[in-house]
Symmetry: none
DNA sequence: CTATAAGCGAGACGGTACGTCCCGTCTTAGA
DNA sequence: TCTAAGACGGGACGTACCGTCTCGCTTATAG
């Protein structure tokens, strides 16, 4: 297989083959239609009720074509998401870690709360529990991307001395993203701005009472 | 099994009808067999590969009997879990909040890491994303139970003055359980004892550097 | 309902037990309700869509009660028919065989054509093909009854010299009832009065041309 | 099997779609296996105990394949019968109507009595009572075929002057086939050769005594 | 400037599990 | 003792999708 570079999921792609160099245009049309159909159905009926047959029908593709490129509906959806909605949540630094963090968390929560990203992320995380391959790609291609943005913010803060050098950055990132995911998936509390603010302040300040002085 | 009272899922049971009334004897045998089959298969083949047909076959029940009492495989599994594995993770207080918390978190991580509870919880949380009814029961009958234990520990600490009164206990609980769930589901880091220790210390102390003075 | 004697299906009844002497009234009430429900449903949804569960529900009986007395839905329906719709088609003799026959056949066709007897008979005959017990009772308790009326008419004609002594009466009866059943079941032609007249005339006169002189 | 033309059930087939178009090779194998399985099971367990699941299992097909082409087990069986057992009962003319008729009736009775055709025909006629679509195809594709052979014999006799011109041929055909079906379905008398002979003679000669001369 | 081979649509196929209907049996409580 | 009630084990139903498999058609370059 020639497999030039045009493929965007280089190492851990779910795609089993890259798009060949020769007949690119037909492929691309079909792939675009499949992505669009997948995301449309995802919004309309939800992930659980989504089927490859439905994607094929709506996109005007043959099931064969879908199976040629993706091994499962999760792979289609994830790939569709990565290719078409891969907007990074980027926040310009204010120069203060707490503010940067709060903006980042609030923006993340807003996206999860107000767009279809919330249910989609929840569904993909759910699917990842049943399919290790999806889990891997989801983690490496989606979660890690967002996590590295967060860790960048934290690193900047550390460099500025706004973070104790003893802090484990990985665990600190877990303390930010963990509660967000927890609320997204478990729905025991809202992902509103107040939550973002409280979360960041508490994580930064700690729970223990400040020593007097 | 504690199972002392006749009715174990009083308010928010997934069961659509109570076993009340006239006939009961056969029911209990069948239900016990169904629970056992469900959990056995859950351990052996995993949640995704579990089918109601397989539960029926292994338990010697008819599919109709299962469908009479539970609307989905998720409901069977969740009910089975609640009825037969409802061991609370209880930790005797050492008198110190940090120690209590660390023990609690470590015990929780150990259970998720070393028993079948980890995959089972992940699968149930995943299923909850596709089924609001399951989500509700899972949250109310399982998650909240564990969460209230944690909040009890925190409250005790608060009473002892080991916690700043300004702290939002709900968000604090999220900062404990969130990272645990996050690692359980996303698998980006281990749930080992060191993680428990770091997590608790960081959450208690906060990330910001202590003011010298 | 005439229903004077306690048991109307003495020898070849489908009923597996007779109605006991002691608790007659409850039985009778239940049976009447079951018959009524069965015939009502028969008219409403047809034989194929009829179920014992539906009869039980509509009649307010328990399935157990129905199964105690009848082995199948066919047995219930047949018994119900025999008990409540056993109107004989009796024709007063005009003194002429051809006229008697024509009246009898026309009356039979009219009943099959204009009442629910047609579909019911067809359904029972159909069921008899799948259940020898039903076949036996249907034949002995229903068909033979009507057939004996016909044979009585024929015998009277024979006694009056209106029938050739060489005629096989059984086959002659088949030549009357056969075409009627054939049209009822196969629906290739109508069961109207003209058919009755032509049938009788042709059977009586024969198909071969009369020798001239 | 005659089966020369590609399409055997042109107008009133039970099949809901033709096998037309692109893919065909697999289909024929599967269909043949389904027919064979259906007829084998019909002989072995009878029509009532026949299930589509059993046909699928024995034929090595999937249930879906059967349901893709036929709407019910009756349709499968009828189609199987029409395609593989469509032997006409043809009788070479002896030049005499009575003899031709007697041979035809005797051959028909023999087939119904000695082969599996008897139970099969009875079962199909029974099923036709519950399913108008089956009724139609059974009538048009099976009954009418045989009936037209009979009417051909009668027409030939009429042309030879062996039949009174006043005779209604349809009713006459009913007088032949009606008694046969009646005995087949009601089982009140045997379908042996003597019956065939008596039936034909009586129908031809008529029941009324011959005018002296 | 074809030819040719890959990708494509179409859709039948064997298959799994679904959730439902109704079966006929059973157990129970009450009249 | 019989009844109403209804849970039970069971068989088959007809359906939805699965993932695989031909089958011809389309089409874009390679010869």
């Amino acid at each position: 297989m020639p497999k030039s570079q045009p493929s965007e999921l280089p190492s851990a792609s779910i795609r089993e083959r890259s798009i060949g160099g020769k007949t690119r245009s037909r492929s691309e049309k079909a792939h675009a239609a499949i992505f669009q159909a997948a995301l449309g159905l995802l919004d309309e009926v939800g992930y659980a009720a989504l089927s490859i047959e439905a994607i094929a029908e709506r996109s005007g593709s043959a099931k064969t074509t879908i199976y040629r490129w993706w091994p499962s509906k999760a792979a289609v959806v994830l790939d569709a998401y990565i290719h078409t909605r891969a907007r990074q949540i980027a926040v310009k630094s204010t120069g203060t870690l707490s503010d940067d963090l709060e903006r980042f968390v609030a923006a993340t929560c807003r996206a999860l709360r107000e767009t279809s990203a919330g249910p989609a992320m929840a569904a993909l995380m759910a699917e990842a529990q049943n399919d290790p391959k999806i889990a891997q790609v989801f983690r490496e291609k989606w979660i890690e991307g967002r996590r590295s943005v967060l860790k960048g913010i934290l690193s900047d803060g550390l460099a500025r001395g706004e973070l104790s050098p003893a802090i484990d950055l990985e665990v600190l990132a877990d303390c930010i993203y963990g509660p967000i995911w927890y609320r997204l998936l478990n729905q025991h509390g809202p992902l509103k701005d107040a939550f973002a603010k409280t979360l960041v302040r508490q994580v930064m300040a700690g729970a223990a009472p400040r020593v007097s002085g």
